[in-house]
Amino acid sequence: MAQYAVSAQDLTYRYGDLLAVDHISFDIPEGEVLGFLGPNGAGKSTTVKMLTGQLRPASGKAVLLGKDIAQNTNAVQAHIGVLFETTNLYEQMNAVENLTLFAQLFGVKNFNALTLLEKVGLGGREKERVANYSKGMKQRLMLARALINSPRVLFLDEPTDGLDPVSSQTVHALIREAAQNGTTVLLTTHDMVEADKLSNRVAFINKGKIVVLDTPAALKQAYGKRALRVEVQAANGATEIREVTLDADDTPQKLHDLFQNERVITVHSEEATLEDIFVKITGRGLHG
């Protein structure tokens, strides 16, 4: 068994003069969900393309399940699943036909498309042409396709981009289930809340380099503000904000006084969001 499910070792890629990925290295242990965050053009997709064997690195190597993917492309691809950002289904075929084709390409025995479609919430729509599906249905079908071979490593590129909340929840549940079953997941996303909810660790990529890689909790501790934000209602009816620092000696007394003397409406911790941390580290936003 490989020590790491995914190991990027000094990966580099150039588009002409542009250095898209600049000597990136990281490892993902089996069963971990790694959130891969960064703005457009940061090098996320190029890194994923190298990790999935779609691009050959200019230097360095991508080792998946103990094998260099450049040397064992098809053998490694048999054990990975990829959900692309852009819809790329055979739209003139129905869901069953789409899934059956990929099951045949993966050599999956006794494949039951209907069970998988039920799982992603597309039961009863299996005979419709995919062209008639909504974006959310297409995305769920693509996720089903990525799960056909029960992959050991799952690459998900913006899995909930543009989806309604219900579809997003279905997708999140499926990602959690895959991870619980031991699948390693590389989750590329712009959605900080999604990354925070699903990832064991997150990597920030900026200008082709990984600038930080840690658990969301550790990052929030390291970069966040340890304070509480308390909303109170003043005597004149207006809402006022009080801030209580968590690490001070008089913190318990201050909190006690607040609840004793004022009408507290809400209490929030003032931990930084992943987006705040990203901006703090890179000086640029995730959507830029």
Binding site: T73, V82, F84, L89, L105
Partner: protein, 355 residues
Amino acid sequence: MIRMIAALVRKDVKLFFRNQFFALITLLGLAFYLLVYFMLPATVEERLPFAIYVEGMAGGLTGTLPLGEDELSDGLTIVTFDSQAALIAAVEKGDYLAGLVLPADALAAVRRAEPISLSLYYAPATPLEVRNALNSVLTAGFNSFAGVAGVTRVTEVLGQPVDAPLPLRDRVLPTLVLTILAVEIMGLATLIVEEVEHRTAQAVLITPLGTPQFFASKAVMGIGLAFVQVFAIVAISGKLAADPLLITLTLLIGCLLITGIGFLIAALSRDMMSVIGWGMLVLIVLALPSFTLIFPNIGSSWMMYIPSYYLVDTLHRTINFSAPLGDVAPNLLALLIIGGGTLVIGSFALRRRFA
């Protein structure tokens, strides 16, 4: 590997017939080609248009000469010209099977039983037996008029004779085959371009399927789709009986060439419109050699540089003249080399596109 290729081919067949444009074009096209074939005359034109010019009688004897109802004149139409140049031009153009230039003193000389020499101009497509028959009729006719044998000498000028007359439908058949193949080039190229455009190729290539197997599936699809149609049209026309094995082999090698060209067009095209643009250009170029079968006068040696020449010529000779393998082997070898080469170059270009 075969399992994966078979799965992709099944998918392509399904998608091909769900693309209403190409499904309609294919089915209607096949029906149209068969209709054209069977509507064309199955027999050779039996009318013998004959031109004549009598020296020294310019303007005095022009128009169609009235002929009697006897057997000799049956089907013979004689049209007189007012100059030798006009006669030659009309015969060269193919309007007349032959044209006779009669010297001014010919009739007087024959009457005196003196030797005469007649110039007969033949159209290049005039069959050999028609030439022989006309030569005999003229020689015998003038000799009997003189009452002495051997006084008349007929000199043939203009084009080389062809072996035998062919009905138009038989001359058109290789053109129909080539047109079907050329349309299939566009069908195949569109299938590939759509896979790139819709990024479905990216999805299938991230499975254990390799690029060579992906191309192999497209080649099987291209060859299969084209072959089924051209085989059907040759079989329905009844021409397959001439030499089933050799004709099948020729069609298969032709499909190899067409698949290679389809790959090249797919590598060059961004979308369906550019496939149609390149496809029409290729169709016109590939069809040129087949036109020489319909209009023999336009034949030229440079046609041999068009790859489809070897397909058309082989089909023409096998289907219409039952040429044996020995006769067409050099053609088939050339077609195989060009077809195989085109497939390799096409695959290479496509691989670069996919990279």
